[in-house]
Amino acid sequence: MSLNLLRLFGGRNATAPVARERLQILLAHERGLLGQSDLLVTLREEILAVVSKHVMLDPDKVIVKLERGKTVSTLEVDIEVPNNFDKKAAAERRMAG
């Protein structure tokens, strides 16, 4: 009851939820950008080197993200490969053609 009354009178001034939402969106973005420094750049380069030994890919389509959680963080590696990604197969096709 008292909480409802509080909402009724305080509703118009309740700007905290807006602050919270803006922060969450902003920080999700900034953590991605800042994560690009040092560690993630190295990781991205090395992953790219290993994968492109075997698979043809567009370097811009390799996305490495680090998301911080309460107890663990997740490293997300997103690599987009074209459908005819197998380098050997592609080379063989070229030879045959």
Partner: protein, 271 residues
């Protein structure tokens, strides 16, 4: 074993120096030997908040550069015999500090004290990175306000990457200290509440310091708030926070001002 604790925030004016002085004094009141170190080279203020501004002879930079020995630069608090201050230089600039030199001073302080509290300058540049460089623990001072929370998030990222511990693959133990909190405004949805801040920063809470006139009163007279009026709401909150740093389990509350009759009548509720 000595602990090096950095008090940091990114944003200026959120209460780093006040919190360093209050936590340092509260730890010393709890029987620990404590040194508070001012890393804000060029804009020192910890000496003023501690009431030792007229007793500064040598400073951190003099010690780093070998001009003075550490014992010559340390200032003993007049009220607590196990509380000491290592002031920053007011005339030099922050480039006078070197990573290696700071490392040497911190190592020497470790052999003399239980707690080394490093008061970081605002910002994310050299002074701030050197203040956190050798830390075992960090207190991230945050106001319930968007720009402060954003900067805290940035600092947390730096604690996880730019410290000696992080480089060794170890963790800096991080704590959020929320200052200038107004429970009534948070309850009305006018101010970010504690849960919002903790969820966003994903870092455990050390304490909640309520907005209070006692903080300004204490700095006016150059006394850490926990010594100036130990019964005041912010002092009790800092004392609880210091006990948590020492490993005690203390229930998390927002100490309230003892309100007068009119405030009660107007329904200003304190959590």
């Amino acid at each position: 074993m000595a602990k090096v604790l950095v008090v940091t925030s990114g944003k200026g004016g959120v209460g780093k120096t006040t919190s360093t002085a209050a936590l340092g004094a509260a730890l010393a009141q709890g029987g620990q030997s404590v040194v508070v170190v001012d890393f804000d080279v060029g804009l020192r203020n910890l000496d003023l908040v501690m009431g030792a501004e007229r007793r500064v002879v040598f400073d951190l930079i003099n010690v780093v550069q070998g001009v003075a020995k550490l014992p010559q630069a340390l200032i003993r608090d007049k009220r607590l015999e196990n509380l000491w201050l290592l002031p920053a230089s007011q005339t030099r600039d922050k480039d006078a500090l070197t990573d290696e030199g700071v490392g040497r001073v911190i190592a020497e302080l470790r052999s003399r004290f239980d707690w080394i509290l490093c008061d970081s300058p605002a910002g994310i540049e050299r002074g701030a990175t050197l203040a956190m460089r050798y830390a075992d623990e960090a207190v991230i001072v945050t106001n319930p306000e968007v720009s402060s929370v954003r900067d805290s998030d940035r600092i947390i990222g730096m604690l996880d990457s730019k410290t000696v511990r992080a480089e060794r693959g170890e963790r800096v133990e991080k704590h959020v200290l929320i200052t200038r909190y107004d429970p009534a405004r948070a309850a009305r949805g006018e101010m970010l509440n504690i849960d919002d801040i903790l969820e966003i920063l994903a870092t455990p809470l050390l304490g909640i310091i309520p907005e209070s006139q006692d903080v300004l009163k204490a700095s006016n007279v150059g006394t850490p708030v926990t010594l100036n009026n130990a019964e005041s709401a912010p002092a009790r909150a800092y004392i609880d926070a210091a006990r948590r740093l020492m490993g005690e389990e203390v229930a998390m509350t927002v100490p309230a001002e003892r309100k007068g009759f009119m405030n009660r009548l107007l329904g200003r509720r304190a959590a």
